[in-house]
């Protein structure tokens, strides 16, 4: 404590260390939160179910997603990222996941919602991609369909397939640890034939 600069430096470093400490305490306080999220998804209509230009099965769904995620918000929550994924099993892969819709919930008052939408992203059965082709795909993904048909193994797995719709959420904090969880809703099935 011999000079102005010495004291200023000591104060600054100690203040920053204490700030890190209270942020860690704030993040830890998220563990004390009791969670009670609820969600429900209905497939209102299968709009069409065809082979896409790449040769993979592709389906368009109209969904009704309703959920109450208000209990996930704490004082340390910046936003909640939520997405709906369709999950199914094929002979080749035990788990295939396709993200159909996502959204960002910025505050607690928006966390109880119901949306009526078609799937935001294409629902293609692309999962039969071998690892060798996956690297090839990365460099050729900007090319047109006739080239990508050489990189994908044709995915024709969706007819008659049972699938789950799982709502995933990531609770993003203002400081500290991010929590993620999901709710699985099963009992959905594709039609036997294209339409």
């Amino acid at each position: 404590m011999h000079s102005f600069g010495y004291r200023a430096n000591a104060l600054l470093t100690f203040a920053l260390t204490i700030l890190a400490l209270i942020c860690a305490m704030a993040s830890f306080s998220d563990n004390l939160n009791s969670l009670s999220p609820s969600a429900n998804v209905q497939v209102l209509n299968i709009n069409w179910f065809q082979k896409s230009s790449q040769g993979n099965d592709e389906v368009s769904l109209t969904l009704n997603v309703s959920a109450n995620l208000q209990s996930l918000f704490t004082w340390n929550t910046k936003q909640v990222f939520v997405f709906l994924a369709a999950e199914y099993e094929t002979p080749k892969n035990s788990l295939n996941q396709v993200s159909l819709w996502d959204g960002i919930i910025p505050a607690k008052e928006y966390a109880q919602f119901g949306i009526h939408t078609t799937n935001k992203y294409h629902f293609d059965d692309q999962a039969s991609l071998s690892s060798r082709n996956a690297v090839f795909l990365y460099f050729l993904s900007s090319f047109l369909g006739f080239i990508s048909s050489f990189t994908f193994v044709q995915g024709s797995n969706l007819r008659g397939r049972e699938y789950n719709l799982t709502l995933h959420w990531h609770v993003m904090p203002k400081t500290g640890k991010m929590f993620a969880d999901k709710l699985v809703m099963s009992g959905f099935r594709f039609p036997e034939e294209y339409r």
Partner: protein
């Protein structure tokens, strides 16, 4: 600052920052507002800076007592010993 004042300033620094941090966390958690916590703590840091960093007079109330010049002459400084060349 004199020596006692420096020690006082350091102690004040640590205690004030810890106290403001505890108060900031308590109010932020109770009000459910992260912003409140950060603002309370930031104002605490500024207050602590104003109290402990500048060279206030009350930190200099116990100056060292230097000897008077005559007193110093009575106790001459010892001469350095002759050291053999290495």
């Amino acid at each position: 600052m004199d020596w006692q004042g420096q020690k006082q300033a350091e102690q004040l620094l640590q205690i004030l920052l810890l106290a403001f941090a505890a108060a900031a966390f308590a109010t932020g958690y109770a009000l459910g507002s992260f912003k409140t916590m950060v603002l309370t703590y930031a104002s605490g840091v500024i207050v602590t800076t104003l109290i402990t960093v500048p060279n206030w007079p009350f930190f200099n109330r116990r100056p060292l007592k230097w000897l008077d010049p005559i007193e110093a002459e009575k106790h001459p400084k010892p001469l350095p010993q002759q050291i053999a060349a290495k």
